[in-house]
């Protein structure tokens, strides 16, 4: 095995790229769960976002329109979840699963004609001479716009959740929907908005996978990224800053195992490729062993709201 082939600066740079899809999807799910809704359909929304973004980007030649389409696709799928759980009071766990199963089939259906096509390339932003700074320039300043958008979304969401009136209402709905309802807030409308936001973010994450990270369309290409994003939210104790940390951790493991595979490590490839999932489980265990409520789970998470008055 030749470890010297692995350049740490390039490794860090690709770690940031690998973390972006799960970061985007995880941030979206964080907002949804802050509103007290558990949407297990992240995987489905991501893959629908991936194919919608890919199809539109290939069709129009514009990656920007592709990302817009990815967000719209994810949001439309999440709207099904929103109507079922908020208006028809369906079980959130079952509906989320249905969303994932449907999304996987539906995306494969749309994506039939797109296998083997290359999407239009996305150029990296350049910061002039800054991008040529050794180490720092390579790691941080040679990425595409989506990476920076995802990074900016972290402090943005922290501020929105913790420092604005909107965030306060969102948290109130997620902690105690009956009290929020009694105060006159439209619980169902607020949750609907949160779910659609989560869907759009998951769709963006999916589009990032198919347009930049891979960049190709294959059936089932998300390969559990949506589930890892769900686990990240628990890992992050519902805090955006920690979510970034978690996304980088998992991005790091993914990139490292790919590099080890390429470097010809003596561990079989299958064991390397299962490592991100195993480590996700281990981290989940460590986090949940410290106690669910204390870890910051919204109190009304996963409970249906039905106004009787």
């Amino acid at each position: 095995m030749d470890l010297s082939a692995i350049n740490p600066a390039v490794l860090f740079a690709s770690l940031i790229v690998a973390a972006t899809p799960i970061l985007l999807a995880g941030l979206g799910e964080l907002v949804v769960e802050k509103a007290g809704v558990l949407n297990l359909g992240v995987e489905g929304m991501m893959i629908v976002g991936a194919i919608c973004g890919f199809a539109v980007a290939v069709g129009t030649g514009s990656p920007f329109l592709g990302f817009v389409a990815g967000a719209v696709g994810g949001a439309l799928l999440s709207l099904i979840f929103a109507v079922l759980t908020q208006y028809l009071l369906a079980n959130q766990v079952a509906t989320g699963l249905a969303l994932t199963l449907f999304g996987l089939g539906f995306s494969a259906l749309i994506g039939q004609g797109y296998v083997g096509i290359k999407p239009p390339p996305v150029s990296a932003l350049t910061f002039g001479p800054l991008s040529d700074i050794p180490l720092l320039g390579t790691i941080l300043l040679r990425h595409d716009a989506m990476v920076y958008l995802a990074l900016l979304a972290v402090p943005g969401l922290w501020w929105a959740i913790n420092r604005t009136r909107m965030g306060l209402i969102l948290r109130a709905v997620g902690e105690n929907h009956d009290a929020a309802h009694a105060l006159g807030y439209k619980v169902v409308h607020i949750r609907l908005a949160a779910i659609v936001f989560g869907g759009a973010m998951a769709g963006l994450g999916g589009a990032y996978l198919s347009l930049i990270r891979v960049p190709l369309w294959t059936e089932g290409m998300t390969a559990g990224a949506g589930w890892i994003a769900l686990a990240l939210v628990v890992f992050a104790s519902w805090k955006p800053g920690r979510l970034l940390l978690g996304a980088w951790l998992f991005g790091g493991i993914t990139v490292l195992q790919l590099n080890l595979q390429a470097a010809g490590a003596r561990v079989p490839v299958e064991y390397l490729s299962m490592s991100p999932y195993v480590i996700t489980i281990v981290v989940l265990v460590v986090m949940s062993a410290r106690g669910g409520r204390a870890a910051g789970a919204p109190a009304a998470l996963g409970r249906s709201f039905h106004a009787t008055h």
Partner: protein
């Protein structure tokens, strides 16, 4: 303005009627989807739901397939339904199915080429144990560390798939297979084969096990204290605790039973219809079984019917692929749609819809 009024107890009529309505709604929506794909919707629906059973040319082949496909679906769904009733969400049955198949097949291959009546039963036990162990991981993590069994069981599916690839290319690879991945064909090894019991019906040991599971689960839920405790924990967790039901034991029981059944389903598949452990052995039965469990209203008899219906869509889907050129994925989307309609219509069994004038808030 429609107002919802919670029913004191779920309506029995609507509980039975919603799956039927959901199937009809899915046929309509699916027909629209097929029309959008440029296919004749009526012909597509007929090919999926009617031709596998009654087509003069293909029915002879596809009728036995109904039981072959329904067997694992029913077996897995029965196990899942117990957990779903108690609020224990094992959504990683696909992983338990794979591990069961690997363990069971490994035992069979270890005996190759010996003959003996005991080999197949040992394989079944190994398959059940494999599924059990794989399901105990989320079970123990949930009861010991309060980790979400939903995420752990699902993530373990990906681990199981990687293990499957590893053994198909490694320890279980057929030494006489010319270097191709995949194990020896168990279906051609008489002591280990899970053969058709009655020729022309598709009935193999997995289907027998599925029928036994349906009956056992029916008796369990109706007549046994454990079944009562499972139902109680799902409907009123606090009351269940006061009644002395141990949540830990219940979680472990539910996950254990579903793991055993999923593992057995995997072994029956590996030793019978599939015949061998290969990279593409996993066929998604573990996920489709979730739809079967809900479509069957978590009720054993309902699951039996739902499993047969879902098997029909699998076979009809293959037929539609072959005859109409419908993509394989459209059936998956179709099955997902069915679950949506079912969940949406569920409202009618728990709530009464009342037309009301808009009240002043």
């Amino acid at each position: 303005m429609i107002r919802l009024e919670k029913r004191p107890t779920p309506s029995r009529f609507w509980t039975a009627a919603t799956p039927v309505l959901a199937v009809i709604a899915t046929m309509v929506a699916g027909g629209l989807m097929f029309a959008a794909l440029g296919k004749d919707p009526l012909e597509a629906i007929r090919t999926i739901f009617w031709d596998p059973l009654f087509h003069p040319q293909f029915a002879g082949y596809s009728r036995p397939q109904l039981l072959v496909k329904a067997g694992p679906l029913i077996l897995i769904a029965i196990g899942l339904s117990l957990g779903f009733r108690a609020g224990v969400w094992n959504i990683g049955a696909e992983g338990q199915y794979i591990i069961g198949a690997i363990c069971g097949a490994a035992v069979g291959l270890a005996f190759y080429p010996a003959a003996g009546w005991y080999i197949f039963p040992l394989m079944v036990i190994a398959g059940a144990l494999g599924g059990f162990v794989w399901a105990m991981i989320p079970g123990i993590l949930r009861t010991r560390f309060n980790t979400s069994e939903i995420l752990v069981s699902l993530l373990l599916v990906y681990v199981a798939q990687a293990l499957l690839a590893s053994v198909a290319l490694g320890v279980l690879r057929n030494p006489q297979g010319g270097g191709f991945p995949g194990s020896r064909n168990l279906a051609q090894y008489p002591a280990a084969a899970n053969l058709e019991l009655i020729p022309g019906t598709g009935m193999h040991w997995g289907v027998v096990a599925a029928f036994i599971a349906v009956i056992a689960s029916f008796v369990l839920l109706q007549r046994h204290i454990l079944g009562f405790n499972i139902r109680l924990s799902g409907q009123a967790p606090r009351a269940a605790r006061f009644a002395g039901v141990s949540p830990t034991a219940l979680v472990l029981t539910c996950l254990g039973v579903s793991g055993v059944l999923a593992g057995m389903a995997g072994l029956f598949e590996a030793a019978g219809p599939s015949g061998k452990i290969s990279i593409d052995f996993a066929s998604g039965y573990g996920f489709t079984a979730i739809i079967v469990a809900f479509l069957g209203r978590l009720n054993p008899v309902g699951i039996l019917l739902a499993g047969l219906l879902m098997a029909l869509t699998y076979i009809g889907g293959e037929l539609a692929q072959f005859m109409l050129g419908l993509p394989k994925a459209s059936i998956q989307a179709f099955q997902g749609m069915l679950l949506f309609f079912l969940l949406a219509l569920d409202l009618t069994s728990n709530y009464r819809l009342r037309l009301a004038k808009r009240e002043v808030a």
